[in-house]
């Protein structure tokens, strides 16, 4: 703004000379600070202070003739109303919120262990929730419900409070609470020694992919995953000093967060070609990593396909925090710069304010769009709006034939979009997807994030789920990846790898737990799978144990196996890739043998990208507490990632190096590395 005005007298304010503080004042201040710190630390251990009678002081005036009747009516009335309203509120909560979503991927995948939504998680969170809420509601209720006789007796036994001075301490207490920014921390009674994990975020629970025997299960099948939400969620947790819960760490999303320099296919007809390599596992000297990378075809820049975007924005009260709606507003301006005259934008809101906030408008009409966005306000509770139907109706009306039609849902976890039943909502989204309108979900904030629902909706809508933790992330998702997230170049991409038992004895897919498919699903075009956008890269890692390496975890069968394999020496495995072109319902097949000439005997010979991907896998496994993570130290992971950093133009890989250091501080290596 005007700070840059030359000769602005206010600019003189910056070159003032401040004389240094006196050393003794500094010492005194530091000592006082420490004393306060220790005092409050000690206080958290002691029982909370309060009225010794366990009841609230109702009046500072001592009525000589006992209690007046007025004094009791109000509390009793309040209690009666509360008793009436609480069950109603609870009922409302149960019927309108989607906190207990069943399996997000029920349609597409095998009955893997991942699919059972764990009641364990909810149970574990309850004590925390009730603790944070405890100081608010029940306490006054309880103390006021007592019978009239009881409380009259209590008032009599209470000593006469000193009238003029009594209010003073209360006032000053209130003042102290106001002085410090109250939004940022919990009341004193909540202060506990362990940092409270932000409760309320919901994750699909899953079990790590197990080790499999090639002799028993030679074929591994999964759907690609281009989501990145897990990485940015984990990053924001670590940066705030918390370890993310294991279910929040999805390794494939962490690996796929980073751009890799795989050669892209030249032709839109065969939109990608796989890049394959085998190199030693950094955390296990006896096994190898098999890396499969694909990168989507990038259409020439001249081609400008129209996009029809409908934003469905959550405006409930909780969105009114700096890292939510205001962040979205700022990021939006960046998005508009990416769009052209044949793209249209519309905005629908739900919860809080509901309805069409912006009729479909050409993306070049920035002033109108930003104005509409500015007028969005977050406030109020959830109004039962048919937000999602409205959004899809708008998308339908302005559907573009040869381009992208997408609804983009931006929320912090309130999925009260107008369809209450989660399954019904998924079906609704699936049906619209088949008619050509896809859905992406942008998650904001923390504490109430329905990550499981986000994933479920985006997977059913053939879109992406992204978690926007800060402005940088908003820029990455909305600007740098907009080509990828908007223009789909192939859909229902499935990968199947068949291992050669003559070469590989055991294998384990790293990550993709929530994306597993049955073997027979691979050739079934009805089974849905992930989509890939222009320029997207997707990476999958297998940890494989070569025959005769001595690294097998399972003992060989005493009586041998029945069948004799077809001997094909030099082939480690065989890769099959199925995909559908955007307009087609019939899948295409790409096949490629994985041969010995793809093997690097030393990880140093592998490319930067491969070393980096291996480092992330090691990081994710260590963070999750995986059974297979070996003894790799944080420093070794950082060194490996540093060696694979490359030019890192966007700076994401440098940032990852910082994260490793943070994780190291939060979860130090148990035993110092012995050399």
């Amino acid at each position: 703004m005007s700070n840059d005005m030359p000769g602005d007298p206010l600019n003189r304010l910056k070159d003032t000379s401040v004389p240094p503080a006196r050393a003794e004042a500094r010492q005194a201040a530091l000592a006082a600070g420490m004393a306060a710190f220790e005092n409050s630390a000690a206080k958290t251990v002691n029982a909370p202070k309060g009225n010794p009678w366990g009841r609230r002081l109702k009046s500072i005036i001592n009525f000589p003739g006992g209690k007046t009747i007025m004094d009791m009516r109000l509390p009793i009335g309040t209690a009666a109303i509360a008793l009436l309203v609480l069950p109603l509120g609870y009922q409302l909560y149960l019927t309108t919120s989607m906190t207990q979503v069943p399996s997000p991927i029920s349609e597409t995948t095998a009955p893997a262990p991942a699919q059972v939504p764990p009641p364990r998680q909810d149970l574990a969170k309850q004590p925390q929730d009730s603790r944070t809420q405890a100081p608010a509601a029940p306490e006054p209720l309880e103390s006021e419900i007592g019978t009239a006789a009881d409380s009259a007796a209590m008032m009599e036994s209470m000593p006469a409070p000193p009238p003029p001075v009594a209010p003073a301490p209360m006032l000053s207490q209130g003042g102290a609470a106001m002085e410090v920014p109250t939004t940022s921390f919990a009341p004193m009674s909540d202060m506990v020694v362990v940092p409270p994990l932000p409760a309320g975020d919901q994750f699909t629970s899953f079990e790590e992919q197990r080790l499999k025997l090639v002799a028993e299960e030679p074929v591994s099948t999964f759907s690609i995953d281009v989501d990145t939400a897990s990485y940015s969620y984990m990053r924001s947790m670590l940066e705030d000093g918390f370890l993310p819960e294991p279910d929040a760490v999805r390794i494939e999303e962490m690996i796929n967060y980073f751009p890799y320099d795989y050669p892209a296919a030249q032709d839109a007809a065969v939109p990608f070609q796989p890049t394959i390599a085998i190199y030693p596992t950094p955390w296990n000297t006896r096994t190898q990593l098999l890396q499969i990378g694909i990168k989507g075809h990038v259409p020439p820049a001249g081609e400008d396909k129209p996009a029809n975007l409908v934003f469905l924005i959550d405006t409930s009260g909780s969105m009114d925090e700096p890292d939510k709606l205001p962040l979205l507003k700022r990021a939006f301006a960046l998005l508009l710069d990416q769009l052209s005259a044949n793209d249209t934008i519309s905005i629908v809101t739900y919860a809080g304010s509901a309805g069409v906030a912006l009729e479909p408008t050409a993306a070049t009409n920035k002033a109108t769009i930003l104005q509409a966005l500015d007028n969005l306000w977050a406030g109020g509770s959830t109004a039962g709006a048919d937000g999602i139907e409205l959004a899809y109706r708008l998308a339908e009306q302005h559907k573009v034939a040869d381009g992208t039609n997408r609804v983009i849902l931006a929320t912090d976890g309130d999925f009260n979009v107008g369809i209450e039943d989660p399954e019904q909502l998924e079906d609704f989204i699936k049906a619209r997807r088949d008619s050509g309108i896809t859905l992406s979900v942008l998650g904001f904030g923390r504490g109430n994030l329905g990550d499981d629902t986000m994933q479920a909706l985006a997977q059913n809508g053939n879109g992406n789920a992204s978690y926007i933790s800060d402005f940088r992330e908003a820029q990455k998702v909305l600007v740098q990846e907009i080509g990828g997230t908007l223009e789909m170049i192939a859909k229902d991409v499935k990968i199947q790898v068949e291992f050669n038992p003559a070469m590989v004895s055991e294998y384990r897919l790293i990550g993709y737990e929530t994306r597993a498919l049955n073997r027979e699903d691979f050739n079934n075009d009805k089974v849905d799978a992930g989509d890939i956008g222009a320029g997207h890269s997707v990476t999958a890692l297998y940890e494989i144990t070569p025959v005769g390496s001595g690294g097998e975890l399972v003992d060989p069968l005493r009586y041998g196996s029945a069948s004799q394999p077809i001997a094909r020496s030099g082939e480690w495995a065989f890769l099959r890739l199925r995909y559908k072109l955007p307009q087609s319902e019939v899948s295409q097949l790409i096949e490629q043998p994985i041969t010995s000439d793809m093997v690097h005997s030393d990880i140093a010979q592998a490319s930067d990208d491969m070393r980096f991907a291996a480092a992330i896998a090691a990081f994710g496994q260590k963070l999750r507490g995986s059974n297979y993570s070996g003894e790799m130290s944080w420093d070794a992971i950082a060194a490996l990632a540093r060696s694979g950093r490359g030019t890192d133009e966007s700076g994401y890989r440098n940032e990852f190096l910082q994260l490793v250091q943070t994780a190291k501080a939060l979860k130090p290596d148990a035993v110092p590395a012995v050399n």
């Binding site: 500094r26 306060a36 202060m191 890192d648 910082q658």
Partner: protein
């Protein structure tokens, strides 16, 4: 270290490093680690004091405020949830402490500081320039609280409007508005 084209990467890394250390100290202090809290105080005392000096205009008050801030940090660090940056949180506490001090002064009717033209803290060499600059400072310190905070955060502390908005817990546009209002108030002087 690879000195590749990632020029900005290396610069950002050093800043991030300092931040990461603060972050780690905050986490440890919040968990009750007294040593970490002591380090944190030492790291921040100078900045707190300098800020307080700019707002109060004399060393005694600045020392009082800095001490209050240290005490409040000690009381409240366990509840700091990291939603905002630690530095903006410290700023907020400092500004509140300044306000408390000045309000309690006002109640006792002491306006001595506001009337002082040249404090003995100032170096005698550039008296004349100091006099005009002192006038400006005195005028800025007499502004209504919000305007004063906005002007000092943006100009004396050289923060962005967005950062000032976060500290003052208001919208970015409102910061600009307060600065604008302050300009109007100061027009005669500037």
């Amino acid at each position: 270290m690879v000195h590749a084209p990632a020029m900005d990467g290396t610069a950002a890394e050093t800043i991030d490093h300092a931040q990461a250390i603060t972050q780690a100290l905050v986490v440890r202090a919040r968990n009750g680690d007294g040593q970490a809290f002591a380090l944190l105080l030492e790291q921040h005392y100078e900045r707190i004091y300098r800020t307080a000096w700019k707002w109060c205009g004399n060393g005694d008050d600045a020392e009082d405020v800095a001490q209050d801030v240290c005490i409040k940090l000690g009381q409240a660090i366990a509840g700091f949830d990291g939603r905002s940056a630690f530095s903006s949180w410290v700023y907020r506490i400092t500004l509140n402490a300044v306000r408390d001090l000045q309000r309690s002064r006002q109640r006792r009717g002491r306006h001595v500081d506001a009337l002082r033209q040249i404090t003995p803290d100032e170096h005698p060499a550039d008296q004349e320039e100091a006099a005009t600059s002192k006038q400006l400072w005195a005028a800025v310190r007499r502004l209504p609280e919000k305007q004063r905070d906005a002007v000092l955060l943006v100009y004396a502390e050289e923060l962005s409007h967005a950062a000032a908005a976060e500290i003052m817990n208001i919208k970015e546009a409102t910061v600009s508005f307060h600065v604008h209002e302050a300009r109007k108030t100061l027009r005669g002087l500037l």
